[in-house]
Symmetry: C2
Subunit: 118 residues, 2 copies
């Protein structure tokens, strides 16, 4: 029998857990990757795209943390678990938070990646 995939209700989602989740580069990468596609993506696909240099157990734990903190939802489709960011729900619970964090990460990256001297 299939266990039900549970996700926290948005009223139980905390800022601390979200910040903690997104302070890890791997989890940030996963969230950014999930946001790129419409309709979600399975874990293996995400891991493959990001070339995550870690075993699937670690990867699974990162997904668990993202799920438990309320950032992503996982839905089973056949053999796959399709994950997606709970964007609109998060926007209601904490308006602008995710966008602001992602914007700051983009700004940081832009300041880090300098054009090479020719």
């Amino acid at each position: 029998m299939s266990r039900v995939l549970t996700h926290p209700h948005m009223r139980d989602v905390t800022v601390a857990a979200i910040l903690h989740a997104l302070s890890d580069p791997v989890r940030l990468g996963i969230v950014k990757e999930l946001l790129k596609v419409r309709g979600g993506m399975n874990c293996t696909e995400t891991a493959h795209r990001l070339k995550l240099p870690m075993p699937k157990s670690t990867c699974s734990q990162h997904y668990r943390i993202l799920r438990e903190c309320g950032l992503i939802a996982s839905e089973r489709r056949g053999v796959d678990l399709i994950c997606s960011v709970r964007t609109s729900e998060l926007q209601v619970r904490f308006p602008g938070l995710l966008a602001s964090i992602l914007a700051s990460y983009r700004k940081e990256r832009a300041s880090r990646v300098k054009p090479r001297t020719p």
Copy 2:
């Protein structure tokens, strides 16, 4: 001889370190308390106001983390170390990030603290 109190240059400040720092309730409390006063506050005063239930060594480590991630600056005035949030510098480096995080924490708190039934 006095060691120089060093703080990271803003160009070296990372989003990950800031999120990690602010995902801890004690450090969040410190930052919020520091923002309440103009001109900064020393560590003991902050700890006293927050009634931090921890030894000063732990408190000192939290301040170190806040300093090293670029969130606060410490300046010696006599026997005290006066701490303050690097608000304007942070606003230049990551516009809106701190404000957005604090706003979300406020919203979370508002949703948690319900009026009692009479």
